[in-house]
């Protein structure tokens, strides 16, 4: 016996298909006696209620929204930042009795479950690094979406923080502490998984809005404090430990005075820097101060607890979900704040330059290198 359909029940109960549909979806429209007859017929042939696939096709609503990110599912699920975002989204989904699915927009994932094939009512785009592609894909699909961390997106909702201001706050903190040489651990500034120093040429071609805004924010402060550009060097890396280790190697290469403070664009990177620094025998914050970004759960538990920029990630998620469900298309900007913990301190005395313009501070004894 094949699976029972609405039509079969109708036949058996001697009513029209539409009536059976009503029994399940709007019972109050059907006289009680008849309703029971239908239910009895349904039970008899093992009909468990209208099949969802049919409903979706007809009604166009799936009651499911997607979080999409430009990474593998496995990465997304394990990224602490994404976790918090999803947590916020989940709260709103609970309230609305809406489902949640994770969509990977990895490389060329066009088959299976992807942005182009997912049966959902809308997307929340989580732009880890690339903003263009995700927005582009979502737009092509023609479903409503809200972009997180992509700056203003015409015609769609967007939620952000003021990255430039937040970054400036981080920079101001280390400058205030007396640091005059700082290394920046930058997120990728463009497609292509490139790693390396961000020089002027590279800076000019930045396409990702988040790293750009933060770089600008840092620079604002250093300029204002009269710190020469040569004292500030940014290295672009991926958001993982090996890549950060590479960056630290570059930033602390022998032959030049090394930074006394590191500004990382994510807590994940900052925490990875702990390890890379320890590996070279450098202590935090004794030798080097570190400021993170995001304030993920691990930041507080780290040793030493990480000074970082807190951004309300769960709020971002909540707000994005809310906008998606209501169809709002605003651009909301959430507040950030500096959380001072124990990973920052004044630079070690020997390294503190007597004067901001004293660039050749290379009498500094080099700490243990390599391993």
């Amino acid at each position: 016996m094949r699976k029972a359909r609405l039509k079969d029940v109708a036949l058996l109960a001697g009513v029209s298909q539409g009536t059976v549909s009503n029994v399940f979806n709007r019972p109050e429209l059907v006289r009680e006696e008849l309703r029971e007859r239908v239910l009895a017929a349904a039970k008899k042939i093992g009909f468990r209620g209208p099949a969802p696939a049919g409903r979706v096709l007809r009604s166009g609503r799936s009651d499911l929204i997607a979080v999409v990110a430009d990474a593998s599912l496995h990465y997304i699920v394990n990224d602490p930042f994404a976790q918090k975002l999803i947590s916020g989204i989940a709260e709103i989904c609970d309230e609305a009795h809406i489902g949640l699915t994770i969509v990977s927009a990895d490389a060329e994932r066009r088959d299976g479950w992807s942005i182009e094939t997912a049966i959902v009512d809308g997307f929340i785009l989580f732009c880890i690094s690339e903003e263009n592609r995700l927005v582009e894909l979502a737009r092509r699909r023609g479903l409503p979406f809200v972009a997180v961390d992509s700056g203003d997106v015409p015609g769609a909702g967007a939620v952000d923080v003021d990255d430039r201001k937040a970054a400036a706050e981080a920079a101001r903190h280390v400058v205030g502490l007396g640091h005059r040489r700082v290394g920046i651990l930058s997120l990728e500034v463009d497609d292509g998984e490139r790693t390396g120093f961000v020089d002027d040429a590279r800076f000019a071609q930045i396409r990702f809005t988040t790293p750009r805004a933060r770089l600008l924010g840092y620079r604002d402060v250093f300029e204002e404090a009269g710190i020469p550009p040569a004292n500030v060097v940014a290295y672009e890396c991926l958001n993982d430990a090996p890549s950060v280790a590479e960056a630290i190697d570059a930033l602390f290469a022998p032959g030049a005075p090394h930074p006394t403070a590191i500004l990382a664009m994510s807590d994940t990177m900052a925490l990875a820097a702990y390890a890379a620094l320890a590996h070279r025998g450098l202590s935090v914050p004794g030798d080097v101060s570190i400021v993170g970004f995001d304030d993920v759960a691990e930041a507080e538990r780290a040793v030493p607890p990480l000074t970082t920029i807190r951004q309300p990630v769960e709020d971002k998620g909540r707000e994005a979900a809310r906008m998606l469900l209501t169809g709002a298309r605003d651009h909301v900007i959430l507040p950030t704040s500096l959380v001072v913990r124990a990973s920052t301190a004044a630079p070690p005395p020997a390294v503190r330059a007597p004067d901001a313009s004293a660039e050749a501070g290379s009498r500094v004894p080099e700490p243990a290198r390599d391993a």
Copy 2:
């Protein structure tokens, strides 16, 4: 202009609907020239490829699998155990290009996105506490499913660990350390969010297989070691901090000698016990030893690092996903191991009973109580 359909493209290109479908799904079946004519027509009217909803209705496949748990989405997403499980599942989904959705089987969530309405190819049931209901619901829905932590489920896949053996190992560890009075922090043993001591009557009516097996495992060891049942008391609580605090209050009530070791059925509970104990002025492991269960990421980072039973949660996820995708219906049992860290030690000397049967060890000075 309404949204373009397969049929519209067919009309414009002067071919049949079936051919257009082939152009998108099995291009190799269509002569190149014609294929290009169709593609051109599609582009002209802005047709972006076959709508997924139609495909699913017809083909019956959605390329999406669900993780179901008996809690709110927000809870699931934040539960460290669930996170690891999902992480494992995500890996397999990545390989298979399958999507992942989280389904809450909370209370009476029958509308919106639920077990009865989700459009998926199958379920992975994550039985936090209740096994019956989820299996029941999934069976009613008539889709394939794999149950995690529910014991053997006839007609479906199941993945478990040997909880009894694992629990025994935990108990053996503290007994070996010299402990003779132990408190057990049990997960709920049945529906209804009850908290309280698990006496013989309660024990007799346990319905959830996981806590039952673990309780049995503990008991095996205590019997074998000749520790009188009166020295072992179990308290049933929810998997959260307030509930654990209540349990600790009960276990350390004044007037009786308190346990020197605690066996918790989850790391979440064990870690919550840290706080509750600290609150009473008791140190871990100085005054009280604690053993957790699961070995979540937090366990290692905790202070002191938690001794616990490691179960391969990600493997569970991987295995479950694999089984779901291949349609296997085995009952696989994954191995566990005891991970000894710093939350366990010998009991404080004053408390160590001179003889296993010496129950009235109440000369023990009571440590600071309450706050």
